[in-house]
């Protein structure tokens, strides 16, 4: 399932979910914001079950799930209590959409064929809006967007995870850039982009000017006008304006932007400074994901992280919609000259 296809619809559904929640339990949103799991555990019409991560699985590959009979939120216990909170709220989002007919109906009304994708995205938007309400937090940052210090403050003041704070901050950037979370070795743990290619998870940024300076002192905050991002294939981004701040001595939150720099009066993008001349960036036409280093043996095209290659693109291009069943089907499913498919004809 591709995430991020319906950002506006998901956000609008999230607000509707919050309205339904407030109608059912007035004042509950504030309590969920403080400690979602403690609040949810007190509900008598909903069970919260914690599941240990079994040995042998990638950590938290399935962070949570929702079963509707009886309504149960299951949370795979992660080290971070805040992350558990996000998972609990995400699963609560499923509960609301599966028990309120207006919310459920909206999913099928907005995108009847991808209602599930919208439901998932709405759950994420709902959890994010509960933990980090835009209307309340936006006044705390400047008109050009957040400073690195603002993101650290947000983490300290809210119940949201570091990752969620990065996502919120990236959404507030006015120009192109990335808000990223690094460990104490300068390795990326998470990156939230805003109209910019983010560094890969687990990529080492310790050699970039901004992160190298931060690693040298292990405390405080840093600003550099000449930093960049190092991508997984060894290439460098164009020169960026950057700011980083330590939080609890174990993590760094950094912002790297091309233009509209929150901490500068005037900052223009520096053109032609990228280090990626050797390789053109490609975006998968199927899922908009970034390419990996794999190449398809059949079509010799790069294969994206979801496994799509030129074969899928060619197949997708050939498919056409049937006006009766609304499925996109291969040309072989239509008789020559027919617009409806063989099944519907």
């Amino acid at each position: 399932m591709t995430r991020g296809k319906y950002p506006n619809e998901a956000r609008s559904q999230a607000f509707a979910m919050i309205d339904v929640l407030e109608q059912r339990r007035p004042g509950v949103v504030e309590r969920l914001r403080v400690d979602p799991l403690v609040e949810l555990e007190g509900w008598d019409d909903l069970a919260v079950v914690y599941v240990d991560e079994p040995a042998g699985y990638d950590r938290c590959s399935v962070a949570g799930s929702y079963l509707h009979m009886p309504p149960t939120l299951r949370i795979t216990v992660a080290a971070s209590q805040r992350r558990n909170g996000f998972t609990g709220l995400h699963e609560l989002g499923h509960h609301l959409q599966k028990t309120d007919i207006t919310l459920g109906g909206r999913l099928f009304e907005i995108c009847p064929h991808e209602s599930e994708t919208l439901e998932e995205e709405a759950c994420d938007a709902f959890a994010a809006e509960i933990l980090l309400p835009d209307d309340e937090l936006r006044p705390a940052i400047g008109p050009k967007g957040p400073l690195a210090r603002d993101v650290a403050d947000l983490f300290e003041r809210s119940s949201a995870s570091r990752e969620a704070c990065c996502v919120w901050a990236a959404r507030q950037l006015q120009g192109a850039g990335v808000v990223y979370l690094l460990d104490a070795d300068g390795v990326v743990q998470f990156a939230a982009p805003h109209s910019f290619i983010p560094p890969a998870r687990r990529s080492d940024q310790s050699g970039t000017p901004l992160i190298a300076a931060a690693l040298e002192s292990q405390e405080g905050h840093f600003t550099r006008d000449d930093t960049h991002l190092r991508y997984g294939n060894g290439t460098l981004s164009e020169t960026l304006y950057g700011q980083a701040v330590w939080i609890d001595q174990h993590y760094l939150i950094a912002i790297a932007v091309r233009d509209i720099v929150p901490w500068k009066q005037l900052a223009v993008p520096r053109a032609y400074t990228g280090g990626s001349q050797s390789r053109k960036w490609q975006i998968c036409e199927i899922c908009n994901d970034f390419q990996s280093d794999e190449t398809c043996e059949s079509c010799s095209e790069p294969r994206c992280r979801d496994g799509h290659c030129g074969c899928d693109v060619a197949k997708a291009r050939k498919e056409r919609p049937c006006p009766q069943c609304h499925l996109r089907l291969a040309p072989s499913r239509f008789r020559p000259g027919e617009t409806v498919c063989n099944d519907c004809a």
């Binding site: 599941v51 799930s65 007919i101 109906g105 009847p112 209602s115 499925l327």
Partner: protein, 319 residues
Amino acid sequence: MNDPTVSDRLLELASQARVPDVLTEAGRQARFGEPRSVQVRRGQVWRASWDDVSLLVLLLDVGDFDVTMTPVTLDPPAEDEHCLVLEPRGTAFGVPVTVWRGLQAELPVRVLDAVLDQWTDEFVNAADQRLEADADLPPRSRRGTPILSEFDQAAMVRAEILDDLDTLRGSPVLPIESEGRSTPSLVNVLADKFSFEGLVTALMPLGLTQAEVMDIVRGYKPMTPAQAFAVSESTGVDHDLVLQAVRPLPADLVAQVQHPRLRTVWREHAARDNTDEAAAREAGAYGVLAMAARQTGSGPPDWSRRIEQYLLGSRSEER
């Protein structure tokens, strides 16, 4: 010394017929680990079963959906000229074992029930007709003798094995997704007559929740004839078309759901829901598919984790 009484003699005979310790549940667990974590491998002897049919099989090749096997019998003594007969000391069974090499064939993994023994490569290679290992039979084994008459008991045993294999192969299958084949969803089938609120109104009187109606619309829950009739009545769309709007299951999910390690679970569910194993397995598979799961990272769905979480939910339901 007095002659033993009849009851003593019967007790003595019963103790001789006792199941060897290695074949008891505890013995098998000691050899192969927890039933939920057992791996299916070449060289294992499994009990294959479905309904009231049960057969021992030696596994020669293992795939996701099928195994290549050769049937094995213990009693009554029977063999044909293709058989390999092993002496009691060679296996865990403690009695002569007949390997019906001439009946080597494929069986669906879903009928494997309990692992009983693991044979040495020497025995397995000799039992594998494809390897043509007959020239050099291992010690403590011999080739079978031909069936001389169709009235011979061995001929009957052989025929029964063939019947059992047919029954096992005929065990209910789950619908599996295949590339290039698309199943129309209920949204497609109902087209301009689709209304979520209308479906909820039509199906709730039959005891369905909103969440279950959403699963039906998305093809995650097979409809009963009565439910399809209600949808058909409320929309005017043909009953048979409505019934077909169930999506097939991803192959990876089916491979995991029908793995022998979960058979006990589906049987427990069947007993709980007063249904049969096939229906319980199908309900479980679609339940896992329909379960809303928050999965981190990219890549295909983690069906193992989802099944685990689904089963945890089912257990909490029982409590």
